[in-house]
């Protein structure tokens, strides 16, 4: 090739070039706003009654740090495997991702992490303080009592739980059917609490007299007896109806209740217990009809559960309320229905009560229902009057999830007795709040309680965080709740929400096997990557990559801004996909 290669004539270049470092030009002096790492509160965590650090948990899952994920859950909730199955996940309703495509399947992920923790040989590490010499008696081993014991034990209290039934768990053990919560899952999570040194005395119902003894033997008492008695129907023939809660209890106690298949049953009520009873009946071969006085959209039952019930063959008759139950002459073995229920037709009136439509009788229009069994599930109340918070005698403090009474010894009431929302997660929250209140009381006195509780609120509250109480990093979070408009959605692609494998309606109606399966690890990792991680730095590094001044410095996995050179352009803050940064005006 060189034979005809004619060299190009190159003339010298005159170009500005410097090998002197630009370090000498400290462009930080140009700045009038300064970026800072400012972790904020995710909407899910503020919506979670237990205050789980969800944005961080999903981040840890996405980074395959599963043990760190379960330890982060266990900071706030001793029951991830239980709640992953039974919690009605307010978190998902608040999820910012829902405004882009579908909310992150947080409850599936919680269940995945909870199950991984249960099947692991590792003992999860949770923060715990040394024994403080104080002892607390706890009445009731439902989610409130167990929750209180778990958090109190971690704060150094000695805890003894007194339970009327033969096994601990309360509503979790006796009220929730096994197709939603298998017994071994509950047992494993309860044993984790026992490992903290909590002792549980079963078949030991707390009486009013015992409570007086507790006041002399313990430093404090927690009362979480729940709503132990079903409210009876107040109609003619009400005694012919079976108590739905008792029915669920019997199912769990004996694993079978003799009922004739092919029989029909009316389940009166529209709450979760009604749905649980109806779905249990389907599995026993009975054909249940839910009878509810308002409309479907007014039902307090969790809609996905109701939908599953309808898919399984449960019928729904709305805008009907029973006014009389009479014998129909049939016998339990025969083919004639046993009862005739007279149902008053209802209609919606314009007025609303607590956001629900108010219904009134539609004149004297009635219909009758020929039925073999009637179940009453119209609500419950405290089993004993002293379970209620006493009024007037002693100074008391109303917190969002519990009542704290300064009696001879401090007494905290929690769970369904005090919660506006009667849910497992709210019950756990009341136990946590009571633990924080009691610990503060013993350390700093009655007057310090309110302030201590509000100091560890997640966002604007009312949810409280034990990690924040224990002065962990989480207390530095900005309480501002990240909104969807604050997410840099350019960084996220639409991706369908992961759906956990679920038994077909037919298979479900044939057995008490768990309805849903836990996500596989692959599916869980994929789902966790859908999480925006609102307000949480997940080390995505876009701040550093976009910084035109190379002023985002990462040292020992910690990020900071080199203010000698940061010009305050704000690119890092704008690019941050999840609003974990902020711009602050410089004081000039």
């Amino acid at each position: 090739m060189t034979d005809y290669k004619i060299p190009d004539n190159k003339i010298p270049l005159f170009l500005p070039h410097s090998s002197v470092s630009t370090d000498l030009n400290k462009t930080g002096s140009w700045r009038y706003v300064r970026p800072l790492f400012d972790e904020k509160t995710s909407p899910c965590s503020a919506a979670c009654p237990a205050g789980e650090d969800i944005a961080r948990i999903e981040m840890l899952v996405s980074q395959k740090l599963i043990p760190e994920a379960w330890e982060t859950i266990l900071e706030e909730n001793p029951f991830p495997a239980v709640c992953g199955r039974v919690c009605f996940h307010n978190c998902e309703g608040a999820c910012n991702r829902g405004q882009m495509d579908d909310p992150v399947a947080i409850h599936h992920l919680e269940r995945f992490v909870g199950d991984a923790a249960m099947s692991s040989k590792e003992t999860p590490k949770v923060n715990a303080l040394p024994d403080n010499g104080k002892k607390v008696a706890i009445a009731g081993s439902g989610p409130a009592g167990l929750g209180a014991a778990y958090f109190l034990a971690r704060l150094g209290f000695g805890c003894e739980i007194f339970e009327a039934q033969s096994e601990p768990g309360g509503i979790l053990r006796w009220g929730i059917p096994t197709y939603r919560l298998p017994r071994d899952v509950l047992a494993k999570e309860i044993s984790r609490i026992e490992k903290l040194g909590v002792s549980i005395h079963c078949r030991t119902p707390v009486t009013r007299k015992m409570l007086e003894t507790f006041k002399t033997q313990y430093d404090a008492v927690f009362i979480g007896c729940g709503y132990g008695r079903a409210i009876d129907l107040q109609i003619e023939g009400a005694q012919k109806a079976i108590n739905g809660l008792q029915f669920l209890y019997n199912m769990r106690a004996q694993d079978a209740v003799p009922l004739n298949a092919k029989h029909s049953a009316a389940v009166i009520g529209g709450g979760n217990t009604a749905v649980d009873v109806a779905r249990t009946l389907v599995r026993l071969g009975v054909e249940p009809i839910l009878v509810y006085r308002r409309r479907r959209q007014d039902m307090p039952a969790f809609d996905p559960e109701l939908q599953m019930a309808l898919d399984e063959g449960v019928k729904l008759k709305a805008l009907l309320t029973p006014i009389a139950i009479k014998d129909a002459g049939g016998d339990p073995a025969g083919h004639q229905p046993s009862y005739v229920v007279t149902l008053q037709k209802m209609k919606v009136s314009a007025a609303k009560v607590e956001g629900r439509a108010r219904v009134v009788p539609d004149g004297d229009k009635t219909e009758t229902l020929q039925i073999d069994h009637i179940f009453s599930t119209i609500g419950a109340e405290p089993a004993d009057p002293w379970h209620n918070v006493p009024s007037g005698e002693h100074p008391s403090l109303s917190l969002s999830h519990c009542e704290f009474v300064n009696s001879d010894v401090p007494i905290a009431f929690g769970g369904d007795l005090t919660n506006r929302v009667k849910s497992v997660a709210d019950a756990i929250a009341s136990g946590k709040q009571a633990a924080i209140a009691l610990d503060t009381y013993f350390k700093s006195g009655w007057d310090a309680v309110n302030e201590a509780v509000s100091r560890c609120q997640v966002g604007p509250g009312p949810t409280v965080s034990m990690a924040m109480y224990l002065d962990q990093e989480r207390k530095d979070r900005n309480p501002h709740i990240v909104s969807y408009s604050e997410i840099n959605t350019h960084y996220f692609k639409n991706a369908p929400r992961t759906i956990a494998p679920v038994l077909s309606p037919h298979d479900r109606s044939q057995s008490f096997l768990p309805v849903e399966y836990t996500l596989s690890k692959e599916a869980a990792l994929e789902e966790s990557r859908r999480c925006f991680n609102c307000g949480i730095c997940n080390a995505c590094d876009y701040c550093r990559l976009y910084c035109p001044d190379m002023s985002v410095i990462v040292e020992n996995a910690e990020r900071h801004i080199n203010l000698d050179y940061c010009k305050g352009c704000g690119l890092c803050v704008t690019e941050c996909p999840r609003n974990a940064m902020a711009l602050k005006e410089e004081d000039i």
Binding site: M1, Y4, K5, I6, D8, N9, K10, I11, P12, L13, F14, L15, P16, H17, S18, S19, V20, S21, T22
Partner: protein, 392 residues
């Protein structure tokens, strides 16, 4: 190998043969086919290059400036508004002395929106320090792109290869696409004279005070003045290897011509035909094809046109308030020439309007019949009714 190829494809093939390493571009009609082809080369492995998708032409050239500063061979392509949007960085690319090659498909600027041929987009960038080479057909555009890399890298200035919208970019005609081996002989791998180097950290193109800025600018001018000589060597070598000759300006039947057309782009081909027809009618017509516009090959023009009677410049562009841009340039170039010809400027074929052999012949007659140029540029083929209606 001879292929039937679109003008756009001829550019893409040249980029492939030049073993360009980084391409960044933003689509715009009628340029898009060029980078579409190249992106396919990148994705199917035919070309081992990084194709950077960007959100604008400004970013396309910015990305290319970064890549070229890193010492690799680069390419981008654009048209019309895209080129206008690059304007700031056109200056930067030449000031930074980066041997970038860009294809610009000549297209009209809006408003009114128009995607067809008009040369004003590239000509309005004449002061940005880019070498500009105009192409007549598919073969010309392929060969010019290959030569552009040699030229750019020899003087450290960017080169714009210019081709007509649709008449060239979207027209299929036979093109000889050379094999890789001779191209490799003609165009060795790029050896940057400077580059960003992490082993030897430094900064380019920072602050320059008045005491040095003028010298920096004079250095660019000196490089531009070097272009004709370098181009001649490169074109000579190209001819040796590929057998095709490309001069900065090509004189066709000029020796005895009484009227010589000067034009660029596909209009040159139309003129070739018109000149032949005029010659067959006994007319002494000639043609000077303008290939290199920046730097303007003044010596060559003086050499060919001194002593001639009349020159008719066909401009498919306009500098409003002055005249056709080629005509302006030519007048300036010939001002100090010995016995310069009369220069007749004609503006024709803007916004994709056809310039046919008949249009050229009409220009010839008008030039022949005039004693001296009356106006700066005569607009050819205007709809008289419309124009008259404004005057009343």
């Amino acid at each position: 190998m001879r292929q039937v190829a679109e003008g756009s494809q001829a550019v893409s093939e040249a980029v492939r043969l030049a073993k360009v390493q980084v391409i960044a571009a933003y689509p715009i009609t009628p340029q898009t086919h060029i980078v579409e082809n190249i992106s396919e080369f990148c994705s199917n492995g035919t070309l081992n290059a990084r194709f950077i998708c960007v959100e604008s032409e400004h970013s396309a050239l910015a990305a290319i400036i970064g890549a070229a500063s890193g010492g690799v061979r680069t390419f981008t392509a654009t048209s019309s508004h895209g080129l206008a949007y690059m304007h700031e960085l056109l200056h930067w690319a030449s000031g930074a002395r980066l041997p970038i090659v860009m294809a610009d498909v000549n297209r009209a600027l809006g408003p009114g929106w128009n995607i067809w041929l008009d040369q004003t987009d590239s000509l309005s960038q004449r002061d940005t320090g880019w070498i500009q080479l105009y192409c007549e057909d598919g073969q010309d555009v392929l060969d010019t792109t290959l030569m552009a890399y040699r030229l750019a890298e020899s003087v450290n200035l960017p080169v714009m290869v210019v081709l007509d919208a649709f008449f060239l970019s979207h027209t299929y005609e036979p093109v000889d696409v050379p094999d890789q081996e001779p191209v490799d002989k003609f165009l060795p791998p790029f050896l940057p004279r400077f580059q960003l180097d992490t082993d030897n950290p430094g900064a380019f193109n920072q602050f320059v005070a008045p005491h040095a800025y003028m010298e920096m600018r004079y250095n660019i001018q000196t490089a531009m003045e070097q272009v004709p000589e370098n181009y001649a060597r490169i074109a000579e070598e190209f001819e040796i290897i590929f057998g095709r000759q490309y001069n900065p300006a090509e004189a066709v039947q000029c020796e005895d011509a009484e009227i010589i057309f000067v034009t660029a782009g596909t209009t040159v081909s139309t003129c070739r035909q018109a000149v032949n027809r005029l010659r067959s009618q006994g007319e002494k017509a000639g043609l000077l094809k303008l290939k290199m516009f920046r730097p303007f090959p003044i010596d060559l023009f003086r050499q060919v046109l001194s002593g001639k009677q009349k020159v008719a410049v066909v401009d498919r562009n306009c500098s409003f308030g002055a005249s056709g841009i080629f005509a302006q340039e030519l007048k300036a170039a010939l001002y100090h020439a010995e016995s310069p010809p009369q220069i007749y400027g004609y503006i024709a074929g803007l916004g994709g309007r056809d310039v046919t052999p008949e249009t050229i012949e009409d220009i010839y007659r008008q030039t022949q019949n005039a004693d001296s140029p009356q106006t700066e540029s005569i607009w050819i083929g205007l709809d008289q009714e419309t124009v008259e209606s404004w005057r009343n």
